[in-house]
Amino acid sequence: MAAMRYAGLLCALAMCGCVGTESSSAKNSGGTLAISTGGDPDVLIPSLVQSVQAAQMTDMIYDRLADIGDSLNIVNDKGFVPRLADHWTWAADSLSITFHINPKAKWHDGFPVRSSDVRFTVASAKDSSLGSPVTPLITNIDSVSTPDSLTAVYWFHARSPQQFYDAVYQLSIMPEHVWQSIPPASWRASDAARNPIGSGQYRFLRWIPRAAVELVADTANYRGAPKLSRLVWSIAPDFQAAVTRFLTGETDFFEQLRLENLPEVAKHPELRTKQYHALQYSFVQFNLRDPAHHDRPHPLFSNRELRRALTMATDRATIVRSVFGALALPALGPTVRAYPTTDPNLTQIPFDLPRARQILDSLGWRVSTSDSVRRRNGRPLQFTLSVPSSSKVRVQTAVILQEQLRQAGVKMDVEQLDFPVIVEKDRKRTFDATIGQWNTQPSPGAVLGSWGIGGSRASSGNNHGSYENPVFDAYVDSALASFDPAKRKAYFTSAYETIIQDAPAIWLAEPSPTVGYHSRLQLATLRPDAWWIHIPEWWIPADKRIPRDNTPQSATPPPAQPAGQKTP
């Protein structure tokens, strides 16, 4: 039957006469990578990107000055590899870094990449009218000066272990000549956003909303041509449709297989799977403030011992095994194993149901004979867990957790809500408890925003549970300020152990996503923060190519877009 599919495809190709012949010199280059994905990119402007699809595409179209290494080191410049900057030099006081632009680097419309593009990129990202999520992450960058057209000097407010990372990781460089005439507030809506011009190894060819995005190799790129000639993201909003496209061979790659997909993949000898560590962790977050009166403590979760008892009553290993199988490990805390600063042997609150019962007894929560729910002064030990109905994994987790807590005499109601409703409840802090997940960056510093005092007290902060412990903040601050890797790790270990023992959340799972791919694809390393970053090194051996690998590569670059913007 699969042959019928290809027969149809070949028939259609024959009608357009585009089945080409293989050049013997192109053994390792050429071919098409078709990726199954669940949605359109939100926007193809690097400093505005939110969705993972957009991040994948913009990372292929645009380049940074330098890229973080696979080890994810963020201290100084160790491990960073040159991109648009072919080398860099540090000032003696470390308050500035001079980047030397590769003179061969060109934009996809033929203009050379200049230092003024770098200055423009940083200045625009700092412009509050752009509404960029990057803005708060580059506050240590004061400005960029351009002594000549190929030299950009970053000036920093303060010396910091991760100032090089801040300078290069957060921003891909954008062409000033394309964007300068468009007010930042109108960037998202501009034509230029739909026809991006970058300097990366792939250039943009087309975006058909709700259908596909196609990039083609930039064969004249200053870093050399990538091995695959064409990348196509095939969009199917329904998960089942997206995975079926991969299973039936319509696409070559699927980025996040679920546990239930693995047996199906195993039935196809031509398909492979590969697991990697991602920068994600999930948790049950307790609200430490009263959802109805934020100036008061939560009647249950403000009590540290009660939170610890609930953590002890939770068999996290069983939850992870049941929900994720081999696709996740129990979370260590508000961190991930891929960070060089994470000690995988962090002391945890153990699963100990009898001890949890003892603690609850000692707190005055006694099991009622009528319904087996604990009560204190007539009030049941009961709370509501909010979960997004769209997340099958979180709903399954909630159901298992509900049963585990029931055995400790705790009544947990599960409230399934639409995702935007969950976000609103988080933001307004009107929840009892919620299952959340953070997708973090290579810098562990984001933990302060999510769990630190600043993130709790600022009305716009992301510490929705309002956990506050100055000791935790102090350890994280010390870690972030330390240049010595050993000290850095030691401070972070102390910080994590502090928050783990305070139990503002039950640390659930650290997913290790599994990608599915066709065996004809030869993959490179899947980097934890961005599995796609090495796609230009992926290849398909000549003897394993199929008709879609031999489509003629379009040589027509999109037109330059300095004008023609639209505004909302």
Binding site: C11, A12, Q50, P420
Partner: protein, 323 residues
């Protein structure tokens, strides 16, 4: 007739306006906003969201937003889609032809198939064929549309892989095909979603048509036709069917809402880039202008379907024409 038409168009405009106003209020009152999703990123703080809310005017009071929206409607604009970063009219304009194609093929196919099934059932009434077809019709009639869509998808793309897995065209190869190839590719992709909708709608048509045919069979003119010596097949085709078609004409109009709703689910499951897929995605992302725009276009389609059905009915039944 013209007066009747004007009256119906006026009624349709009022219905569309009420539906649009209710949808506007409901979607804006629902928790969250178009920028809720970005708050799932620990690096994004509330100030970024507030900047964007202000840029799009979502920080203004709801009545003011409504007045501004009505004003843009009066200027022929349906607003700006936040998730697509294009005018709503442009987004729906590119999606609507796909939905109309899907609905059109499903409508024609389902009525043809439904009438054919009913004719077979009536010709063989009381037989095993009649009962079997009734059972099959009932099966599809009671099947939820999204469930049938998933079942069809898995059956014909995975277990029996003869059709592609969704989309309106092959996203990887379509642009590299010739004209003929593109046409075949389009048909090949249309087959499954259209078949799903067709199966759902034809079950309804078959049941209605069978009942209508059974209603007219005892009529005097049928008895007369039999006495004239016409065969049962000729009686069914030339006399019974023509007279039993009137209720089915009503069904054309009534099918529009059901087909449109069905198309919404089918489009999502088959990744068919039509209006349903656009609006379903917009609901999830709280893209207010696109949701309201989609509802306006949808309600226009439904009211016009109903009007069309009334006009067809009047055309087909001489007794109504005089009124």
């Amino acid at each position: 007739m013209l007066r009747y038409l004007a009256q119906r168009l006026g009624q349709a405009a009022v219905i569309v306006a009420i539906v649009a106003a209710i949808t506007f209020a409901l979607i804006h009152l629902a928790p969250g906003d178009p920028f809720s999703d970005m708050m799932d990123n620990p690096n994004v703080n509330e100030s970024v969201r507030q900047t964007l809310r202000a840029q799009y005017g979502f920080d203004r009071p709801l009545p003011e937003q409504f007045v501004r929206y009505v004003n843009s409607l009066a200027h022929g604009q349906l607003g700006w889609s936040i998730s697509n970063q294009r005018p709503v009219l442009e987004v729906l304009g590119s999606a609507l032809p796909n939905t109309l194609l899907l609905m059109g093929v499903a409508l024609v196919g389902s009525f043809t198939l439904g009438i054919l099934i009913a004719l077979i059932q009536v010709a063989r009434r009381g037989s095993i064929i009649d009962y079997t077809l009734s059972g099959i019709s009932l099966f599809f009639f009671s099947m939820p549309d999204f469930w049938l869509a998933i079942l069809t998808l898995l059956t014909f793309t995975y277990w029996l892989p003869v059709f592609p897995v969704g989309g309106a065209v092959d996203p990887v190869m379509h642009e590299y095909m010739g004209l003929g190839g593109r046409f075949i590719d389009r048909l090949w992709h249309l087959a499954l979603p259209a078949l799903t909708l067709m199966l759902l709608a034809s079950a309804v048509v078959a049941r209605y048509q069978r009942a209508a045919l059974l209603d007219v069979l005892p009529a005097d003119y049928i008895r007369t036709a039999r006495l004239k010596g016409l065969t049962e097949r000729e009686i069914l085709r030339r006399h019974a069917l023509r007279n039993a078609l009137l209720p089915i004409i009503s069904l054309v109009g009534l099918s529009f809402p059901a087909l449109l709703t069905g198309a919404f689910f089918v489009e999502k499951i088959f990744a068919w880039p039509g209006m349903g897929l656009a609006v379903m995605s917009a609901i999830g992302t709280r893209d207010y202008p696109l949701v309201v725009g989609g509802v306006i276009i949808g309600s226009i389609m439904v009211t016009f379907g109903s009007l069309l059905s009334d006009l067809l009915y009047a055309w087909a039944d001489p007794r109504l024409r005089s009124h």
